[in-house]
Amino acid sequence: MKKFLELCGFEPAEIDAELPRIQKVFDMFGINQEDIERGKDRINKFWDPELKGLAKIRGLARRELVDTILAREENKINVCASLPSATTDILNAASFHSDNVRATYPDVLVLMVMGYLFDKLDPILEAAEEHFLRPGAAQCSLLQVRLGLNVLGLYPKCDLLMSMGSLCDALPKCDEALGLYFNIPVHYINCCQDRGADWEDLYRSKDFYTNEIKKAQKKVSEVVGFEVDNDKVNEARRIRRDAAIYANNIFDLVVNSDPVPMSAACLQYIRIFRAMPVGRKTQDGLNEANKLLFEEIQERVNRGVGVVEKGAPRILYAPLVSLADPSITNMIEELGIAIPLSEDSILVPDGELRPQMDERGRGEDPWEKVAYALIQRSIEASVPMRIRAITGAVKRYHLDGVLNLFHYSCRYFAGDPLILKDAVEKATGVPVMVLEGDMYDPRFYTAEQLRTRVEAFGEMLRAAKVAHK
């Protein structure tokens, strides 16, 4: 176990202090020696073990999970939420202000640790399938993780569940049912998806969404027992700033370098950590870890070192890279295809990495900016806007193709892959491959099963590149 924790960037003193709590949580999840050995192998295979910054980030995920799970017995006020990250600022403001408040995305942490690292999600998914998210109905595996944790008594004590109703209906419906079965108070944050091809539509959505976020701010204040006012929010943003800046620097380096210096799966870890609320100690650690990682990546770029060879075809991976299973993107990279960018990083209108803050969107109100930035994300956009964003990104970053591995059990992402393929191929001339997959459940769609099609795609990309030259 100690060796394993060292691989997770823990210092010896930290190991001694934290071991009992970590052991306790691992016991709750049934993590045994065999799992630990598997975890070590996976770190070596998927995690770029030589990057110390990344090792620290692995450790922070572990710490955050332990703190979150034990909040149940440590009698903290616990506010749980999920992606998209509309509530991140509010929740951070609350938890940074008071040690008595824990606020995070528990299911995402479980994916990051039990999925990505240990490949041990099966018992959780199976528990959900015995309850209201049955197998065979293409119910979303992300929600199955949330339900399974509740069924197994592993979900932290939850004083408030912030339910994100801005994308699908399955998530808020699942949370409503969790409220009914497990007595969890639920507060919804909605946004209406009536946007089309006009930028004007975004203003309308932004206003509604802003108001919803403000209502969430009020609700969190009620539950934590103090006002989570804008000053606290600004202070939380200040505390998070370094991690965010270095994360952005890393994204910029990766997308602009050839060879691509970091794997897509590891990059996704950083992206998710950037988006979710964490405890204060974790945040301080993250500020340092991202800085260290940026320096390491910069150094790799200077040396011309990459995870695929220089000149490899570069693709946009849509919609987002799995947090539960790195094996698929790893297989793609092994086949010599670089993934410098995923769709969840790009924005409308034309695939930019930073949001447009025009006069009507900026406003005085900090929440208006949050809402405006969120609805500019390609993955939250309407189909016509999404087409434009992906097309823009392909052109802007000189990409050779797009791979859309859609989450089969998500109505939000499973409806439009063929439209996107048709439109983006016509607009850019680069090939778009559509793969059916599962972002949170590694049981059915394995890397090996998908390998043959990806190989063919790689050949197509290389041939197109040669022809282009």
Binding site: H131, F132, L133, R134, A137, A138, Q139, C140, S163, G165, C168, D169, A170, P172, K173, C174, E176, A177, L180, Y181, V186, Y188, N190, C192, Q193, D194, R195, G196, R204, F208, N211, E212, S382, V383, P384, F406, Y408, S409, R411, Y412, A414, G415, D416, P417, L418, I419, D422, A423, E436
Partner: protein, 383 residues
């Protein structure tokens, strides 16, 4: 029944009539089901409202797979598949489509029309919160934008007077359907559920003035009548479903064949929701929106809709003296699937047996469905 005969002949002629109207310059506005699109407003604009609700046939759902994946429910796929096949007159006649942003599946059906056809699509924003004032305001504003779009389409303003008339007409239609439905409370209903649902479906495509007259005659004719005496042990059942499409009659037929009797339904889409009317005289756009969003039973995709839906269904069971529930859902209908688990348990707690059925519009599942329905009815009968 003379009125029924006339309605049948009207429905036969309707596509031809609509084609002629279209050729003469009348606009045809198609919209998706769920009762969130203000059809009164479309009617008041001088356009013809057509609620597209065909389903049950595997072919249109399957041809849509050239444009989307199999994980949308077969009904929503069929809404694009019908247009693609081009065999169904109503789907071909549409000049503008109103896509209410209800469940993700129907939203995607609108996206398919938007991308693959030249029909303009209006996305009607419906916040999935039925009981909030902010949500209502948003929906009212969305309805006002629809009004403007309709005015642009037809080139004529929608006057308050025309809107008032349209509201009265549709209120009358809903009241008559309610009156007819309530006759099924009788021990020997004068109309079967299948007949009632077919009437309701006709109201989606028929000329509304003609439809109201037909419903009026039918109601007058049956309201004091009894149907054929049913055997005393025939179980009276309630049908709960997200969606019964025009043509998706297999469950109703199989229950009839198994000598069960469905006496009432709680169906979110496919049939017109007729329990509530539009009330109020002030701002008519708001009055319609208020009825559609706040005053009617929320569909399962709405936040916190489970308990009000359970209460409503429990009320129907009592009101219609039903002793069992057939829960019929379409494959991949995620929100109803989640709700079904809770609902079944709650019903069992109340001593009401529930049979959950699922369909992908595959004709091959008929045999299995028949066996399950027969067994269910038999079990209730011997209780």
């Amino acid at each position: 029944m003379q009125a029924l005969k006339e309605l049948t002949s009207h429905m036969r002629e309707r596509p031809i009539q609509l084609r002629q109207m279209k050729e003469a310059g009348t606009k045809i506005v198609g919209y998706f089901v769920g009762d969130y699109v203000p059809e009164e407003m479309i009617y008041a604009s001088g356009a013809v409202p057509l609620c597209l609700c065909h389903g049950g046939d595997p072919m249109p759902a399957n041809v849509a797979l050239s444009a989307t994946t199999r994980f949308l429910c077969p009904f929503s796929r069929a809404q694009y598949g019908e247009r693609l096949l081009g065999e169904q007159a109503y789907y071909k006649l549409v000049d503008m489509l109103v896509d209410p942003i209800t469940c993700q599946h129907l939203r995607r059906a609108g996206d398919l029309w938007d991308y693959y056809t030249d029909v303009p699509v209006f996305r009607l924003g419906i916040p999935h919160e039925y009981n909030g004032e902010d949500a209502l305001n948003y929906y009212v504003e969305a309805s006002r934008r629809l009004k403007t779009s309709l005015e642009e389409l037809t080139g004529k303003p929608i006057t308050d007077e025309a809107l008032r008339e349209a509201i009265d007409l549709y209120n009358r239609m809903r009241s008559l359907l309610k009156g007819i439905s309530l006759t099924k409370q009788k021990p020997n209903p004068p109309i079967t559920e299948l007949e009632f649902i077919k009437l309701n479906h006709a109201s989606m495509y028929a000329d509304p003035v003609f439809m109201v007259e037909a419903l009026e005659s039918i109601y007058q004719e049956i309201k004091d009548k009894d149907g054929e005496a049913a055997a005393p042990d025939v179980p009276r059942l309630l049908l709960v479903s997200p969606n019964i499409a025009y043509g998706d009659y297999k469950i109703l037929e199989l229950v009839n064949e198994a000598e069960g009797m469905i006496v009432a339904e709680e169906i979110c889409e496919g049939v017109r929701f007729y329990w509530e009317n539009v009330k109020g005289d002030g701002d008519l756009v708001e009055a319609i929106a208020r009825r559609n969003l706040k005053e009617r039973l929320p569909c399962a995709f709405m936040r916190d809709s489970t308990m009000p839906r359970l209460d409503f269904i429990s009320g129907l069971l009592k009101q219609f003296n039903a002793v069992g529930v057939i829960w019929y859902q379409l494959l991949y209908c995620d929100t109803y699937d989640i709700e079904s688990f809770f609902f079944t348990k709650e019903m069992q707690r109340m001593g009401i047996p529930v049979l959950k059925l699922e369909s992908d519009y595959d004709i091959l599942d008929r045999g299995t469905l028949r066996t399950r329905i027969e067994t269910f009815i038999e079990t209730i009968r011997v209780r």
